[in-house]
Structures are given as structure tokens and as C-alpha cells.
Amino acid sequence: MFIIPKEKEVPLGCITPAPVTEQPMMITGNWREYRPVIEQEKCNLCMNCIVYCPDACWQLNEVEDEVVWNAKYCKGCLICVNECTTEALSKAYELDFEDGVVRLEKPF
């Protein structure tokens, strides 16, 4: 019988573990024209933004009990704004903010 070593075993249901590190070769923050802005008072932690974000740019901060946005990789697709159940998320034009600057030397 073919024995798979313990460290190479695929997790149950063949689902790979969540990515824990950033991908520095593919920073997509400069694709963004509009960004999602969260009002923490309205948010009821339904986690829709975390589930629907294609780039995992929404993460749950378990200490503060709130969702946190990642400016470096958010492409501004605004799927999270669409899926938000409590209208805590809204879109805002990127030039209104001082932060979120990526400024790469080359696109890739």
C-alpha cells in the first residue's frame, strides 16, 4: 500500500489551508478606482464581505471584534459593497484618501 507521509497529507475534504502570507509578486492595490469604506457601528459581523471578497482583503480581527480591510491588495471590485446586508459598506473615490498608496515602479 502506498503510504503518504503525514506532512504531505491533504486536509479533510481536500480544502487547502487559508493563505497566511501575502503574495508580494502580485500587488493589485493599484487597480482600484473606488474603495469600500466601513462604518463599524452599522456592521453586525455577518461576514458576507469576508466570504465574497475574491482576494481575501477582508479579515476578521478577533481581538477587536471587527472586520479589517487590506488596502494593498483590494482591486476595488466593490462586490463587498453589493453583498453587505446592513449597508455598513459604501464606496468612495480613491483620491479622497491620503492612505492606500502602493506606487509600484512597474505594473508587474
Binding site: G29, N30, W31, R32, E33, K75, G76, Y93, E94, L95, G100, V101, V102, R103, L104, E105, K106, P107, F108
Partner: protein, 202 residues
């Protein structure tokens, strides 16, 4: 590369501004050709432009003598940089390779000062020109005609490219406005962009 060749780089958004960016480079090169100059205009293959909103480049070159650099597909030292979408200044070092005394043309409804605060190497610039092309022409035309050797059914400069080209004449002396008017389809927007452009000399 000989210094006589004037290099113009256009930054635009993938897919949604693909045609607009190409129209700016092509319109500029065609207008300069009417003045008897030697020109080149081409897209960048490196940027993988077939994804929505990805930053991409289009290039134009204008020279009084024949351009000999046929096999260099990037403008290393752009003299004029055109940014077709203002939010690109936060994501990309748009002035990369520029020598002192360049010109930046930005499509935005904001003031030049609001754009300049996002450009740390702004001392390279001689002037910045801001024009609200979206206010003049409305939304960008999402169109692929004219791409990769296809027939351009929409026509050169039917959309946002026309006011940006008009604003370019205010900041630089690369081409004359009447030569651009002979090339560009939406002449009204071209003149409007020329009038409404805000020039700030640094």
C-alpha cells in the same frame, strides 16, 4: 537612444480605457505626421492589458529625423506622461525615467495641487495640465475596435481621448491644435478640452 526622439507615455486602465489610451498615442502620432515628423505609436505587451482596471501603457515617439530604435518596445525616458485615469498616480510611479523638465497631463476633475501631493518626485515636472475629460465626454467608451490590427469602426478620438489631446496642446508644443483637429473625430470635445484645461507651471 538619441535625445532628438521625443517619447510620450500614456497610462490608462485595462479594458475600460484600452481604446482611449491607444487613441491618445495614435492621434498624437498621426497629427505629428501631418507636420512632416517621423513618428511611432504602439501598445505595451508587458502589462498584460486584458484585465479590467489593470494599469497599462501606450507609447508614442516623435522625431525630426528618422527613428532608428525599432526594436525597443518601451519608452525609457518619457518627456511627456499622460495619465488617463487620475487614481493611477497612487498606484504607479508614473514619472519613472523622466528627466527634469517633463510635462504631466492628468484626466481629473480635481485641482493640480490635489494630484501633485500624490507625486513625491514632482520636482521633475515643468508643468502639470489637468482636464476633466469625463465631464466633457461622459463615461469612457468600452470598445475593442482598432485593437491588434482590427478595423477601427468607432473612429480615432471619438471618446475621452479628444479632450485629453486638446489639453496636451496647452502644456506642450509637440503638435499643433489644427493638425489634431484634422485627425480626431470628436472635434468639439477637442476644443473644449483645450479651453477648459488647467495648466500649472512649477
Amino acid at each position: 537612444m538619441a535625445s532628438k526622439v521625443k517619447q510620450i507615455t500614456v497610462w490608462a486602465r485595462g479594458v475600460v480605457q484600452d481604446k482611449e489610451g491607444r487613441d491618445i498615442a495614435n492621434g498624437l502620432a498621426n497629427a505629428a505626421k501631418k507636420e512632416g515628423k517621423f513618428t511611432q505609436a504602439f501598445d505595451n505587451y508587458v502589462d498584460l492589458p486584458d484585465r479590467v482596471n489593470v494599469p497599462l501603457r501606450k507609447y508614442a515617439r516623435i522625431s525630426d529625423e528618422e527613428i532608428e530604435e525599432r526594436y525597443e518596445y518601451e519608452n525609457e525616458k518619457p518627456e511627456v506622461v499622460i495619465v488617463a485615469d487620475a487614481t493611477l498616480v497612487k498606484g504607479i510611479n508614473v514619472l519613472r525615467g523622466m528627466e527634469k523638465g517633463g510635462v504631466l497631463v492628468v484626466n481629473t476633475d480635481r485641482k493640480p495641487e490635489d494630484i501633485l501631493k500624490f507625486i513625491p518626485n514632482r520636482d521633475l515636472l515643468k508643468a502639470i495640465v489637468c482636464v476633466d475629460a469625463k465631464g466633457i465626454c461622459g463615461e469612457a467608451t468600452v470598445d475593442f475596435s482598432g485593437s491588434e490590427g482590427g478595423v477601427d469602426a468607432v473612429g480615432l478620438g471619438a471618446g475621452m481621448a479628444a479632450p485629453i489631446l486638446g489639453a496636451l496642446v496647452r502644456g506642450t508644443n509637440l503638435v499643433k491644435l489644427e493638425n489634431l483637429a484634422a485627425v480626431v473625430k470628436n472635434k468639439e470635445a477637442l476644443y473644449k478640452g483645450h479651453e477648459q484645461a488647467v495648466v500649472k507651471t512649477l
